[in-house]
Symmetry: C2
Subunit: 689 residues, 2 copies
């Protein structure tokens, strides 16, 4: 699936720039991650004269709840209760005049659990992006063009919709300053707001004589009697056969990096980093095999904050060596999830004058501010994030296996679609369900890695489309079908997009598909110096489209976890350069250029690829070279190609790719006795000339 | 010539990274602009663990003075006088304990005039990069690996060389903190230090209990009795036939932009921006047709600060309408150059509460700090910088004419070299002199646009090599010859690099040349969306080299002025992304990939190219597309090409380029009756198959 945005998106546009134009782009590209791609493209249309900042939490994935009814939630009584809580000195020593309710959880996760959907609870608006602010008199909701209609339908008259991106819409700061009485206090839950976001809001309010204050108890929770429990699913420990490195060795490596940089403590808050560190997985958040926890690692202690009930299982205690640690410095001290704050306070109270504490600059304001500024050493990427990104041999082997199984399921799906579509019984939803069913038959299947994008004809042009009962379209032999899907297996995570036609594609559809294919190959076959940043490869994916005056409004690739989140940092392939670390062998990213003809069709071609050493003729300054090896092994539909537009090199690439698909996936299909799919694979991997 | 660095260069390297390796790179790439290219490449070799900041002023062009003798300057008495001045309350109310002497002038120019070479005067060290700091006890000089040897030779025992880039070398801040007594005052001339550099030094010193103080009178000038006068060369006014837009219209456009952003005053400090605004040129700084001046533009007033003697000429007074302005708001008030400070103070004293003043964030600390913070609106690029970058039809026509004349001179040079080299009488210096002589025969020739890089064999691998009598090498039929040169004509500025062999090149030389040519063509022929930033095109220039494991350690292109500086912002083509604005039609940049085989040969292929609209088959979202049109029209040596490595498209590009050279330059050679050069041109532009 297309890359997600990073922390902050800068939408730069001219004051002359027609709003209707901006919103037609925003609305055509519903779904997460899309808006982040506007930087370049809106910039392209106009000069840079005016800037608006969107927060990434506002571009999260629509959750299951998007399928809910669209009638407004009655919020009068709830708001009354919230305003009472705002005046109640039980929560803050003085009354507060405004309360900010961002989307998001205390770990700054991309996907969130139901108990963290507080903004939805208070307003009724369940879009993936939105920030609510409630004052004594007003209740206002900031969201972007994708959600104007939906927010209007889901919110009652107590709420004012603040249409982000419109010139006349004030920023949250400006609006607060315009409505607040002098010397007001604005409250926010410091766990939900990231340290850098806090900083900006704090500055803006202070300069206008107000103050931003941290309210430790969440005031929405205070008025939410039937709030869902925080999930505490069963933990799964992964052995060396899946992880390649024991958690003990990961701790040792982490400490070596800390000692190299003279760091005495490290605070881990990102859920996937903690899961990776301890070789544990959970199911607390849909699609993401993570669990709610914190970890603080010192040079001789490890503190693990998690619902302690989860650690009662003897096998789990054995995995973590809770009862008989091999060495004292590898002894894990366990604490309740909630006690991270007080424990970190205690650690900080005992810091020596030269002690330094590492924490990610995107961690919550609450934990960040516990660490005194002189001891705080914020980092854009933690050593766990960087360590997790470079997969070891075992993880690579697992990812390869997962992709072979995934290819088996997809070959079966496509063989089935080819047979069933002419009967007119297959819909976007039933095709997605069939894909899930086939994947679930594969060994060590755990679940999907993100909601399947199954889209026919014009729906394909909606980049993050997800079929809903009211939009569900039937697959026919007359329209292009795009399916972007993936799964979690215990050995790896997959994410693959194929675009197919089950009848006769038009010359224009084939032409566009071929340009996208050329871009996909240009990235996949690129050879580049060791340490090149991914953003330097992005234009390779676009050159063929650009030559014909075409383009696509999203990045080209994102990092992929190993039985972890399908989107992970710190590497990627994008024209956006603010968030990528150099590529190195063992990193895994997606390669997914596309083309979207609004109202007609969408094309995207996505493989997950592994960064591997390359051995070109020369080796300039002994730097070494890298290239990509496709892990995804699913045929690319030849029927959609205009092979005359391909160079001989590109045809060779397609033939070699298809040879490998046939060899590797064919053997597995044979082993599993899936004859029809095998025949389909053989038909679809004929040589092209 | 290869791009120059921007304000700050971040050299990031691992503590494991061998210093000898770093310095071998630094030393092999002597000359300006090179070190700025290390960011990616050093990064490529290692992780990012440690960072050192170099200031751009430290990578300026070596001046004529590099040819001076290398014996140390005796500085004992000078330093004694300087230390006395540091204690003299005539200059600062209290004694100062350290004085910083950066390289650079009050306009943050890339090239500086002799009167501004203060660091050289006090130390003897005349390299292009260096910062001196003198305390009561010490005198220390920070410079980079290119200059370790030279600095050691030119400085006497009073000085300690601080080898930048070595792990053990402290930063200026750290060193100051380590040697200064408590509560020290560190002085600096606020005119020479840029606002952002001041800010960093100020913070570091403050946090250690010291203070950075602005000493208004330069203390070097105080001890420099025979300091050269600030140049005040004759000004040249350019008519509409050269500039296309009157200065009055430029002022009107500037004011429209100010009023759009609610700005009441604009302070211009960059010399090329002021020259462009008033359609004036000077010769105060070698190679750069600029003159020392400041300008402050309000909504109804224009204040011009310049040596008033330069405005006595009646034609000049007429040009500026000094005696009979057409409208009151276009009346220019003239002031002595030195009075800019007090005039800006007076303006700021009268500011209304909502008044805002634009100043470039790279302007001097002195002028920046005159503007109260609440009224200051710093911008990375001024409207003049952006306006100057987009050339109008007249400027484009002038640039085309200048490049035709320049091509005539180069065709003559190459025809002459072909004839003379076998006689063994041509050296790097005599070839450069011949190029200058031939250029000077062309109409409206003013001078060179930078020192000619004329390099044979291994010298070609030194990216900014400049032949000196002691290095001067003879051109032979056995070695590759690289010449990177350019001139200032009244109608335009040129910058062209050709790499030739006058005997039989080796297969490897041809192979490398062909990869560089492929990269050059890939950029030149690229079609890309309107508003794309140049850095997104950089990898196109490298793809063919990368595929064979090769690369080059500099950017691919820089902006070029029109009868102005050969390096100008804000656009360029580089993997460095911190300083480029989107490309638009009318911008002019260089396209100059290269390959450097240390100790053997260097290859660079440089055209100046104009950004022009492209008309591909489709027009996605009506964004429009752009491509490049070469302005440089000098044959590319076919003998150096391995045409088998070229695609048909690339061969077509070469043939079409050569057809155009023959048609356009051929006609001019014919008109000028330069028969031998014409014959050479015809021979060198035969079709390739």
């Amino acid at each position: 699936m297309p890359p997600q945005p990073s922390q902050l998106i800068l939408l730069i546009f001219n004051s002359d720039f027609s709003n209707s134009c901006l919103f037609s782009i925003l609305q055509q590209n519903k779904g997460p991650g899309v808006a982040c791609d506007f930087e370049l493209h809106v910039n392209s249309l106009v000069g840079c004269r005016q800037s608006v900042q969107f927060q990434s939490s506002e571009f999260n994935m629509p959750s299951e709840k998007s399928e809910k009814a669209m009638s407004p939630k009655i919020t009068g009584e709830l708001l009354r209760q919230l305003r009472q809580a705002m005046k109640n000195c039980k929560y803050f020593s003085e009354p507060i005049q405004a309360y900010i309710i961002p989307s998001g959880d205390a770990h700054q996760s991309e996907y969130i659990a139901p108990c963290d959907c507080r903004r939805e609870f208070i307003s009724g608006f369940d879009g993936s992006a939105g920030t609510a602010i409630v004052t004594e008199q007003h209740a206002a909701m900031w969201t972007d063009g994708r959600y104007f209609l939906q927010a209007n339908q889901q919110m009652d008259n107590n709420w004012t919709l603040m249409k982000m991106g419109l010139k006349e819409t004030p920023s949250q700061e400006d609006w607060l300053i315009s409505v607040l009485p002098e010397n007001s206090k604005v409250g926010v839950d410091p766990w939900i707001i990231a340290a850098d976001q806090w900083k900006n809001m704090f500055k803006a309010l202070s300069s206008a004589g107000h103050s931003l204050v941290a309210v430790q108890d969440n005031l929405i929770d205070a008025v939410w009697p039937d709030r869902p429990e925080r999930p505490s699913t069963q933990l799964r420990s992964l052995g060396l056969d899946f992880t390649g490195i024991s958690w003990q060795d990961k701790i040792t490596t982490l400490r070596a990096k800390m000692s190299e940089r003279k760091i005495t403590w490290f605070v881990a808050t990102a859920l996937d980093e903690i899961a990776w560190l301890f070789n544990l997985r959970g199911a607390d958040i849909e699609y993401n095999p993570v669990f709610f926890a914190y970890t603080i690692v010192g040079m001789s202690t490890i503190r693990f904050f998690v619902d302690l009930k989860r650690l009662s299982d003897p096998a789990m205690r054995e995995h973590l060596q809770l009862d008989s640690p091999s060495k004292p410095e590898l002894s894990i001290q366990t604490f309740p999830y909630e006690s991270v704050y007080t424990e970190l306070q205690a650690i900080c109270a005992a810091l020596g004058p030269k002690d330094k504490v590492w924490i990610c600059d995107k961690a919550s304001c609450a934990l960040t501010q516990v660490i005194p500024k002189t001891h705080r050493s914020p980092i854009p990427y933690t050593p766990l994030c960087l360590g997790k990104a470079v997969k070891n041999a075992t993880e690579i082997q697992g990812m390869k296996m997962a992709h072979i199984k995934d290819a088996v399921a997809l070959c079966e799906l496509f063989a089935w679609l080819e047979k069933e579509i002419p009967n007119g019984n297959v819909t976007e939803i039933s095709a997605a369900d069939k894909a899930e069913e086939l994947r679930s038959q594969q060994k060590d299947f755990v679940g999907l890695s993100f909601p399947t994008i199954s889209s026919v004809g014009p729906h394909g042009a909606i980049i993050h489309y997800r079929p809903l009962p009211e939009t569900n379209r039937t697959l026919t032999v007359n329209e292009v079908y795009l399916i972007d899907s993936g799964a979690q297996y215990v050995d790896g995570t997959t994410d693959v997009t194929r675009t197919m036609h089950f009848g006769t594609p038009s010359a224009f559809e084939k032409e566009c598909f071929t340009y996208v294919l050329k871009g996909h190959i240009a990235v996949s076959a690129a050879i580049f110096p060791n340490g090149t940043k991914g953003h330097l490869l992005d234009s390779f994916a676009r050159a063929a489209l650009w030559e014909s005056g075409l383009d696509y409004l999203h990045g080209t690739g994102h990092g992929v976890g190993c039985f972890l989140n399908v989107h992970e940092g710190p590497c990627g392939i994008s024209y956006k350069t603010f968030a990528d670390e150099p590529l190195e062998a063992g990193m895994i990213v997606s390669d997914e250029p596309g083309y979207y003809e609004d109202g007609s069709f969408g094309i995207r071609l996505e493989n997950v690829v592994l960064v591997v050493p390359a051995k070109p003729k020369y080796n300039y300054r002994n730097r070494g070279s890298l290239t990509f090896e496709p892990l995804t092994l699913v045929p690319i539909q030849v029927k959609m190609m205009n092979t005359e537009l391909l160079t001989q090199k590109e045809r060779d690439w397609v033939n070699e790719y298809h040879r490998k698909c046939r060899e590797v996936v064919g053997a597995e299909l044979e082993r599993q006795g899936r004859q029809e799919a095998l025949e389909w694979l053989i038909r679809e991997t004929q040589l092209i000339i």
